[in-house]
């Protein structure tokens, strides 16, 4: 009989309940979308961060007397052998003091393909060199190009002692960092110019993950590369560690706000419904219905709306999450089934909270209602 009355209750006030259902579905849709985005935000944001440059540096300890120490390029093979799961890019660097004509300049030999992967935010006039072992082209920092009078396609001859190398300018980069004053070549050219085959000054790594995950990777590297300093770039790791909780906090409070607004929508519908139901409640009490029996009916009605609104909202939220993901991160947000029970639970909670006016019907005095008051 309980389900029979519940079914009739749902059918009897279709208009008002439809309004409440729309409020619940809308709220649930936004919540579901934001929860989906939230679950994906960590992954997406760390991926985004990894386009912003290296977040870890491996270098030999400074030699006595301030001499620049060199590491063996063999460490690159040891890093690769560790198969770090979140390693995005590995770029070795060898810095060489060279001359272009009579002007001194710092030459940075590196792996172009890894640099491009790690620093997609660099502003480049011309283009980045994509082949790791391109021995014909170089990238010139914006300031260095101005000082040396280099433009795109200019030939440039670099000398170090009695060794020299001839290259063509493929791109002029503006990074806002040390690279603006340097010329970037492939690693082999720099080693040949310096006469240091197999020598590197440092290795920059870009590792995806949260701050603790990056710390964990740093510990693994330090353990496996004895004698080398492994240093996470703290500012970047810290920024990542700060931004992510802030984004998640923003999503959390947005969800909370949406839920409160949905509840107000439900509250308005339920208040009108409560006025309509006063007579029924008075009658039910006169017939011997306890407050608990009557409230169970109304709360089940609100709960049913919550489940329905939560489910519909989840479906709409999937579409919304896809749209938000594309707009915000440029990728499709993956639907998460774990969001379904959370959305339904939240929506049922909102529906029950919004049903407060119906709960107040428990205070109705049957004699007043039956007298027509």
């Amino acid at each position: 009989m309980f389900l029979r009355i519940l079914w009739k209750l749902l059918g009897a006030s279709r208009g008002r309940l439809a309004v409440a259902l729309i409020a619940l579905t809308s709220g649930a849709a936004v919540c579901s979308a934001l929860l989906n985005v939230n679950l994906d935000a960590e992954r997406k944001l760390t991926q985004e961060f990894r386009t912003l440059g290296a977040n870890m540096v491996i270098a030999p300890p400074a030699a006595a007397g301030g001499e620049a120490a060199l590491a063996d390029a063999a460490i690159l093979d040891r890093i690769a052998a560790l198969r770090l799961p979140d390693l995005v890019a590995t770029a070795p660097y060898l810095y060489v003091a060279a001359n272009s004509g009579s002007q001194p300049v710092i030459l940075a030999g590196t792996w172009f393909d890894q640099v491009a992967k790690m620093n997609s935010w660099w502003k480049v006039e011309g283009g980045l060199v994509s082949a790791r072992d391109d021995r014909e082209h170089c990238l010139v920092g914006f300031t260095a190009a101005r000082q040396l009078g280099l433009t795109l396609g200019s030939p440039v001859q670099l000398r170090s002692g009695d060794r020299s190398v001839s290259l063509t300018v493929a791109g002029i980069v503006t990074t806002g960092g040390a690279e603006d004053n340097q010329i970037l070549t492939d690693l082999d050219s720099a080693q040949a110019l310096a006469g240091l085959p197999g020598g590197i000054s440092l290795v920059q790594l870009s590792i995806s993950g949260t701050s603790p995950e990056i710390e964990q990777a740093a510990q693994t590297l330090a353990k496996n590369l004895p004698g080398l300093d492994v240093r996470p770039i703290r500012q970047i790791a810290a920024a990542e560690g700060t931004i992510l909780p802030r984004v998640q906090g923003l999503l959390f409070w947005t969800i909370a706000l949406i839920l409160v607004l949905s509840m107000l929508g439900v509250l308005a519908s339920m208040a009108a419904l409560a006025m309509e139901r006063r007579r029924d409640v008075g009658l039910m009490k006169a017939l011997g219905g306890t407050v608990q029996q009557i409230m169970r009916l109304f709360l089940a009605e609100a709960g049913t709306l919550g489940v329905l609104g939560g489910f519909l909202g989840f479906l709409v939220g999937l579409v919304l999450a896809r749209w938000i993901g594309e707009r915000t991160f440029g990728v499709v947000t993956s639907p998460r089934l774990a969001v379904l029970p959370i959305t339904i639970a939240l929506t049922v909670g909102v529906a029950l909270a919004g049903a407060i006016p119906l709960r107040l019907l428990g205070l109705v005095r049957p004699a007043d209602i039956l007298r027509g008051e």
Binding site: M1, R4, I5, K8, L287, G288, L370
Partner: protein, 229 residues
């Protein structure tokens, strides 16, 4: 030694006040099981208030009301609800059926609040009052007389000790009034105790006794059926 028969309803010095207004003023009477009592009097004399107090819908301000051995003035809210479900059947002038439930479901609603529902029993109760073909009709699809008969079936489904009817024919035409009165008469004949609030002298004359109220006071108790004999 003669065995003392306890009255089903015992009202002693009953008072009911609404603020300064004294709706019932030191009313006392008794009702034996199986009696048909008409409660009569002009508008505002306290008839409905008396029914409400007897039915546990209102609480007495003073005095004693005992129904089937239960002092209802002392009952808590939960016990009073149980009292209404177990011992009282209500019939109202406005029928007061739940509009979105069918005739059958309206009767089953009383079963639901009492204990467990029995659809067959509810259908039989409606069948006994000639509504077998109206089981699945909602109140809006029934005539006034049919609605009142559904209300009577609902009032009786839990076999209450006391049937309280407040102007049960007040909203009916003559034909339907006759049907409802015949039904009440049959119920009384089968042993039900009935208290009917009415303005109608004709209905008053059908009762075993008439309790007449004026300004909340008991004006007189008469026995029209004895006079008829």
């Amino acid at each position: 030694m003669a065995r003392m028969v306890q009255p089903l309803v015992k009202v002693e010095q009953l008072e009911k006040r609404f603020g300064e207004v004294r709706a019932l003023d030191r009313v006392s009477f008794e009702v034996e099981a199986g009696e048909w009592i008409a409660i009569m009097g002009p508008s505002g004399s306290g008839k409905t208030t008396l029914i409400n107090v007897l039915g546990g819908l209102d609480r007495p301000s003073a005095g004693r009301v005992e129904v089937d051995g239960l002092e209802i003035g002392n009952l808590g809210e939960r016990e009073l609800t149980r009292y209404r479900a177990d011992k009282i059947g209500f019939v109202f002038q406005q029928f007061h059926l739940v509009p979105y439930l069918t005739a059958l479901e309206n009767v089953m609603l009383a079963q639901y609040f009492h204990s467990i529902t029995d659809e067959k029993e509810a259908a039989e109760a409606l069948g006994r009052i000639g509504l077998s073909d109206r089981l699945n009709h909602v109140p809006a699809e029934l005539s006034g007389g049919e609605q009142q008969r559904v209300a009577i079936a609902r009032a009786l489904i839990n076999q209450p000790k006391l049937l309280l009817a407040d102007e049960p024919t007040g909203n009916l035409d003559e034909a339907n009034e006759a049907i409802v009165l015949k039904l009440l008469h049959e119920l009384n004949e089968s042993g039900h105790t009935i208290l009917v609030v009415t303005h109608s002298q004709a209905i008053g004359n059908l009762a075993d006794r008439r309790i007449e109220l004026e300004h909340g006071r008991l004006a007189r108790i008469s026995a029209p059926s004895l006079a008829k004999e």
